[in-house]
Symmetry: C2
Subunit: 183 residues, 2 copies
Amino acid sequence: MSRQSQTELAVLGALSVEPMTGYALRQAIAGTLGHFWSESFGQIYPALARLEADGLIEPPADGRTSGQVFALTRTGRRRLRELLRQPIAAPPPRNGTLLRLFFGDLLAPDERRGLVEEARERAAASLASLSVLRRELEAEIAAGADAGAPYRLMTLSAGEHTARAQLAWADETLVALDQDGTG
Amino acid sequence: MSRQSQTELAVLGALSVEPMTGYALRQAIAGTLGHFWSESFGQIYPALARLEADGLIEPPADGRTSGQVFALTRTGRRRLRELLRQPIAAPPPRNGTLLRLFFGDLLAPDERRGLVEEARERAAASLASLSVLRRELEAEIAAGADAGAPYRLMTLSAGEHTARAQLAWADETLVALDQDGTG
DNA sequence: CCGAGCATGTAACACGTTACATGATTGC
DNA sequence: GCAATCATGTAACGTGTTACATGCTCGG
């Protein structure tokens, strides 16, 4: 699966939830999908143009005035299901914190600590924003959820697991940096 | 920090451990740094050419025959320390598994399960290869380690934490998929 | 002598971000 | 009327992978 169709997948997926303008699409992706996905305007608008040209999306039946609203066509929905089934292209790993820590003996003790402390803060911030989302989503589910809610909860939980793991690692590592006389 | 200098950082860092050819560099990055970093030939060779032109690396004193071996110059070592201190550019998140699972209500139950099972297998495989590395590294440390060993252990531990978290999430999610009648 | 792996490079292409440019709408 | 935000797009740039091309070396 080319990376190109990854953007297509995100755009078609978001439009399957609700018809939207390009602008709203970007906000939806930054908001709801933000913990595990991102797209920029420079990707979204060309993608919308292509998708419309290919007949996968179109302006919805009820004519709106403000902005170009797009909805999935029947073909678009089929294409989305097809993309969802394609194998996952894992991006090559690139962790800047670990790359630097690997060469930790070239850094001063406080610089090493700083690296790990920053990672800890990022994880804590991420965990905090995820628990806000969790409360919102659980309230929504209690109120009578749509079919997608359980899956959104699963993706949210993945983020929490990852963030907690990073937090635990950072704490363990800060102790190690203190203990062995190198920190 | 531009992405460009991230490649520079990885190359200079690897050469700080030991002088190498471009080919060996690629293997070193794929092997030792492989769990949190990657570079392709298409990046490494141009980077080497640039670094040599800038006087940051050079063929080492003892002339070799097979391949172009490079070592850090004094300037290169200074540049490496400088790069290590620069702020970390976090790549935007892109998790193909979660993107698909988010739209899980458009998939068949076995397709949803497959998504999570694959993620579980990847995490298990990663954990297995990390424990091999851990044993090797611990043996090395017991035998009398170099100054970098503790830091390599920390990066390794980060990978283990992440892999275990993914494993735990996958197990939890597989249960949820079974329980709620959607899996 | 031949195949596997060592070694070096380039060109084409895909991906993705950022900055810039522009204008409409809407709430104060 | 003015500022904020909605909204759409493009151009330039940098990054990064992949495929291709080429030749060497060394063990069997």
